[in-house]
């Protein structure tokens, strides 16, 4: 369908549109016009991606500025899905407009997924693929080839140089598969095609990391212009991605390997001194001159990039005492030895970067400044030495990255040395965590560089938490409810078992037999009434294991077994995928299955249980994080001191976003239906922290239920769902045809005119503000949470 938003003609590739999609578009356009950031929450399964794409593409094509769209998503499958949507959209546009637009859309993923080289693509690990690819495609390899030396090269990569650099693929949208096929036909490397075509694209779809991880971002995304529109989809975990991208863990083993790497470097340097003195000399000259990067041409094959952020980039020359290669290697070795010595300490240490640097200087005479240049200097050296087996230097690179980060940031980071893996471990296995505490650091350059950043997800409540945590201003913050022609999902909060005893996974009671039995009964009852698939989420693997073994002892699993097949998620990815496959098979035929999984595991994020694959989701307990972790404690303290976010607020927020994510798994569209059961006494007070669309559907009658009440309510619900439901019933309510939309627009216009008139009439009495400020007490934790946290604290 085709309609206008203000003056912007939008082509939407479906004959009908959901009301929330329209509202979403309106807000999106407002944001783009204003040139600011926004946080938008739209229920899962209401076509978020296509809405985003169709509006932004329309915006791109209509306005002369042709702002580029950078669409970031989380997983490969989501990227592929978005590309398919985009392709369909462009096809529709071509049909409607009658001509093909000048448009290119590309997806980018790792070399491992895009490689065509017959032997390299068979490698299992992504790192090995990267390293082998570099060894075949690096600039110096080609030079050697031209000089007539016998070296192995990649034909697919070298063919690219024969093509016009700005026209490696024809116009159109290229899905990852499509690009692979095209590459195979024309014998050109899909990965480098995508990389090099990025600046000539209208739409780029890739993973968060290409923008957030400064180690990659500088290499991949540095050519993107300022007016790009950046979208982070499925962004409810974006703060964790930011933090992970700047944190490193160093173990004794990696230090050993780093020492070996430094040794190898030294050998190579002395070899090179004997054979090819000139190259080292050239590098040295360049460093003296303060030229950044030994050659500016081909950055894409570089070994690693500087992990600090673009605005902190070191503009000046490399300090004199690490200019010469052997000086630098000795410098690295000293640093590594120092770290090794620190690792021998047998108690937990947490330290800020300045105090670490002071101690370092006292014992090794390493100053802050050369340390900051560590990563850059190593890259330059590796390039000069023309190293090919780069994977051997991975640990050394980690150490260099750590050195650069620790010397660059004084605030927002913490070094935590944990000598033992757990409290009870006897054998020391020290790990030096260098953790980023501030999610805003990694994402700051994105906000600085791009004028419009859109953060969106199905579950991103409470909305105001994100701007606070990531430290950015917003133009629009909006959460949309779901318009439904029938009540197609039933959220419930079960607080008591059938025996009226309250159920909770709080620390003190979680292993009490009565609580476990009540949870077991709940599971059995819902297994009885649920058609097809049922998913159960536990707060942690540990708890899941203990409760399953207790259920086994009580004979509850045997009871469930009568109704459903039981499958369990494990930390092992392969086992889990096998379990998932079996689950899907069981859901498609027979009585269905129960999948027991963990709220922070793989299943809870990114795997959809649509239609028969998930009719009930049962969330056992509030999925709090493990509060004993020192890293988490440090982060909580940082949040409190810097952003004035209380510990309990954050923990509660984090638990609820995971719970919401679990609930969202089951409902993937308007014709889908499902039960959402939150089984914990503590959920009752946390109700307000659920996303708006879930909270709205949660009736007052459905909170504080006991098991038997919940079951009877669920039975009633399933009976209504069994009635025939035709697409026609939805029309005008939850889907709009063109006429409905026109009517709505007209109404909106009239409203606005009325409002304006009212304003003109009563200039003196402006409309009362209806902003709801009364949400401060939303995150109120109840005493049990606190008691539990206290118990955990005391434990440690």
């Amino acid at each position: 369908m085709e309609f206008n938003i203000d003056d912007l003609p939008v082509l939407f590739p479906y004959p009908r549109i959901y009301p929330e999609q329209y509202a979403y578009m309106v807000d999106l356009k407002k944001t783009l016009d204003a040139g600011g950031n926004c946080v938008l929450e739209m229920p899962s399964g209401t076509g978020k991606t296509v809405t985003l794409l169709s509006l932004i593409v329309a915006y791109q094509q209509y306005y002369p500025s042709h702002r580029k769209l950078i669409y970031c998503s989380r997983t490969m499958s989501e990227i592929e899905k978005a590309l398919v949507e985009l392709k369909a959209l462009m096809k529709f546009r071509a049909q409607r407009l009658g001509y093909e637009e000048e448009f290119r859309g590309l997806g980018l993923t790792s070399r491992k997924n895009l490689c065509l080289h017959p032997s390299v693509k068979r490698e299992k690990s992504g790192n090995v693929v990267d390293a082998r690819c570099r060894s075949l495609t690096a600039g110096f390899v080609k030079e050697k080839k031209e000089k007539g030396e016998e070296v192995e090269v990649c034909v697919y990569h070298d063919n690219l140089d024969l093509l016009e650099p700005h026209n490696l693929v024809p116009n159109g949208v290229w899905t990852l598969d499509g690009l692979l096929r095209y590459g195979e036909q024309h014998k050109q490397c899909p990965y480098f095609t995508a990389r090099r075509m990025m600046q000539y694209c209208n739409v780029i779809i890739y993973s968060y990391h290409y923008l957030l991880d400064p180690k990659i971002a500088e290499r991949v995304s540095k050519d993107l212009s300022k007016d790009c529109i950046v979208v982070f989809d499925e962004a409810h975990n974006i703060d964790n991605v930011c933090i992970e991208s700047l944190s490193t863990d160093i173990t004794e083993d990696s230090l050993r390997k780093a020492t070996r790497g430094a040794q190898n470097l030294e050998n190579r340097i002395s070899e090179m001194r004997d054979s090819d003195q000139q190259k080292l000399q050239d590098e040295y000259e360049k460093l003296v001159e303060g030229l950044r990067g030994a050659d500016d041409g081909r950055q894409e094959d570089s070994f690693m990039a500087n992990p600090t952020l673009p605005d902190d980039l070191l503009k000046e020359a490399v300090p004199g005492n690490i200019r010469r290669a052997e000086h630098f290697v000795a410098f690295l070795r000293r640093f590594i030895e120092y770290l090794k010595t620190r690792m021998k300490v047998r108690q937990v240490i947490s330290e800020t970067p300045p105090s670490f640097l002071a101690h370092l200087k006292e014992h090794t005479f390493i100053e802050k400044k050369p340390l900051r240049f560590c990563a850059e200097r190593l890259t330059s050296l590796v390039r000069t030495l023309e190293l090919t087996n780069i994977e051997d230097y991975q640990p050394l690179q980690e150490v260099a990255t750590f050195a650069t980060l620790v010397a660059t940031y004084e605030k927002g980071f913490l070094l935590i040395l944990e000598p033992y893996e757990s409290d009870t471990a006897e054998v020391p296995n020290p790990v030096l965590h260098f953790t980023c505490l501030d999610a805003a650091i990694a994402i700051k350059p994105v906000f600085d560089r791009f004028s419009s950043v859109i953060i969106t997800s199905g579950t991103i409540s409470p909305l105001e938490m994100y701007p606070k945590m990531l430290d950015f201003p917003t133009v629009v913050q909006e959460s949309y409810s779901m318009t439904l022609a029938r009540r197609s999902f039933l959220p419930m909060i079960v607080t008591r078992g059938s025996d009226q005893a309250s159920i909770s996974t709080s620390f003190q009671v979680r292993n009490e037999p009565s609580v476990v039995r009540n949870y077991g009964n709940l599971l059995t009852e819902f297994a009885k009434i649920t058609p097809d698939g049922m998913v159960v989420f536990f707060p942690s693997y540990l708890y899941m294991e203990s409760i399953i073994s207790m259920w086994q002892g009580m004979g509850i699993l045997d009871e469930v077994w009568k109704y459903k097949l039981i499958l369990v998620e494990t930390p092992d990815a392969q086992e889990t995928s096998l379990a998932l496959e079996t689950y899907r098979t069981a859901c498609c035929n027979g009585r269905g299955a129960v999948l027991l999984c963990v709220a922070r595991g793989k299943v809870s994020e990114g795997i959809d249980f649509d239609h028969q694959y998930g009719r009930t989701v049962l969330c056992i307990g509030v999925p709090f994080q493990y509060t004993e972790s020192r890293i988490l404690k440090a982060r909580l303290e940082f949040l409190r001191e810097t952003y004035r976010i209380r510990e309990n607020d954050f923990l509660s927020f984090d638990a609820m976003r995971h719970a919401a994510q679990c609930l969202g798994r089951v409902l993937r569209g308007k014709d889908d239906y499902g039960l959402m059961v939150l089984a914990d006494r503590r959920f009752q007070k946390k109700r307000n922290q659920l996303p708006k669309w879930i909270n709205q559907a949660l009736l007052d009658a459905d909170v504080n239920l006991s098991t038997d009440m919940a079951v009877s309510s669920a039975r009633r619900f399933l009976k209504t769902m069994a009635q025939p439901f035709r697409a026609k019933d939805q029309e005008g309510i939850s889907t709009w045809s063109m006429e409905d939309l026109k009517r709505h627009q007209q109404k909106m216009d009239e409203d606005r005119i009325k409002e304006l008139q009212a304003q003109e009439e009563g200039e003196s009495n402006p409309l009362p503000r209806t902003v709801d400020d009364g949400r401060e007490s939303d995150y109120e934790m109840d005493d049990d949470d606190e008691a539990e946290l206290m118990a955990l604290h005391n434990d440690g």
Binding site: V288, G320, A330, H363, F365, E637, R640, E641
Partner: protein, 373 residues
């Protein structure tokens, strides 16, 4: 704690040098066996390795005691003819002794070459200077004998030439170090303070909540759950508003005070004489006053030892007032104080001097008095 020399401590720096000291470094590759007496860690759990910066040969502390207790002696390593003293031995900071030696040399160099960036006109000059220092250090660490001698000479020459500069920079450096240390300490202290503050706040909040709940219960018990009180409680319950709630409380108090003052009063009206106290109910103690005379009980009397029971549900059950506890404790503490047996005895003796027969009555009187106090 021992420092271990990892296998492969052999470095190019050590290998390239022909001198006795560094070639011998290469031999150290055992981490659990003393190279001198061949004791292994299995036999001596707290074996500690020591080195002497003369030659960096490591040996266990037992060997050091055995060999050097009677004054200077030769290094036990074959081919090393240095004379070592007991005093020079210390435990190494680094596992890799080559690095240990390098750092020691660096310490010496850094004491002399301590110019900072501000001393140079351009960054490039500074960088050149840094490189010169680094080259010199390298010569000292791993140069040939000739190079080392040359470097040593340069070092001394520089020291002689720039004595004033060096001294100045040393002072400045020390000051900067001191400053940064002080700043770090201050930061740490501030963080600690903040943490403490937050803890206290949380505790207070919790207590506040408990109190408001208790109040609610009390008011329910008295059957007057007023609307105003309810509103105030809602206020109190709201988190993060401890300060606000305090303000509200203060406001309420002042309101009450204002109400007291502003009670309908007609000027000139004589203050009403208090009605004569009605004949009270029968007093079994005959007007005996139980108010303590020697001390005054204030309401909210606390002691760190009993503080924790205030929030302990086992001690604040219904019908029990926590202040009773303090009253009782005070009573017991003071009971008997101010009663001097000697005085009483004297009185008693005086009496008995007169009349021995009334002795028992006297004792009874004393007993009475004691009870009163």
């Amino acid at each position: 704690m021992s420092r271990r020399a990892p296998p492969g401590a052999r470095t190019a720096a050590a290998a390239s040098s022909g001198s006795t000291s560094s070639s011998a470094l290469a031999a150290i590759n055992t981490e659990d066996m003393c190279p001198v007496c061949k004791t292994i860690r299995y036999l001596n759990k707290d074996m500690e390795f020591l080195i002497n910066p003369e030659c960096y040969h490591s040996m266990c502390s037992n060997c050091v005691n055995r060999l050097f207790n009677d004054g200077p002696n030769q290094c036990p390593y074959a081919g090393c003819h240095r004379t070592l003293r007991r005093k020079g031995f210390r435990s190494a900071f680094f596992g890799d002794l080559a690095v240990e030696r390098e750092v020691d040399i660096r310490r010496r160099v850094a004491a002399v070459f301590n110019q900072v960036e501000d001393d140079f006109e351009t960054l490039r000059d500074y960088n050149n200077y840094l490189q010169m220092v680094e080259d010199l250090t390298f010569d000292l660490v791993s140069g040939t004998d000739a190079q080392r001698r040359a470097a040593e000479a340069t070092l001394q020459q520089w020291e002689a030439e720039h004595k004033a500069d060096i001294e100045r920079n040393r002072k400045a450096g020390k000051e900067a170090d001191e400053q940064s240390r002080r700043r770090l300490a201050a930061e740490r202290e501030a963080a600690r303070q903040r943490r403490f503050e937050a803890l206290r706040e949380a505790e207070e909040e919790k207590r506040e909540r408990a109190r408001s709940r208790e109040e609610e219960l009390d008011s329910l018990a008295q059957g007057e759950a007023g609307a105003a009180g309810g509103a105030q409680r809602v206020q109190l319950k709201k988190r993060g508003q401890a300060a606000a709630s305090r303000a509200v409380e203060a406001a309420v108090k002042s309101d009450v005070a204002a109400a007291d003052v502003g009670r309908l009063s007609i000027r000139g009206l004589k203050e009403k004489k208090k009605a004569p106290p009605p004949d009270g109910p029968y007093d079994p103690f005959g007007g005996l006053d139980f108010m303590p005379s020697r001390y005054k009980l204030r309401p909210g009397l606390t002691h760190p030892g009993v503080e924790k029971y205030k929030v302990d549900p086992a001690h604040i059950t219904g019908g029990y007032n926590f202040d009773e506890y303090a009253a009782r404790a005070m009573f017991e503490a003071f009971a008997g104080l101010g009663v001097f047996i000697e005085d009483e005895k004297e009185v008693g003796i005086g009496l008995s001097a007169g009349e021995v027969a009334t002795m028992s009555a006297g004792i009874a009187a004393v007993g009475d008095k004691m009870e009163l106090d």
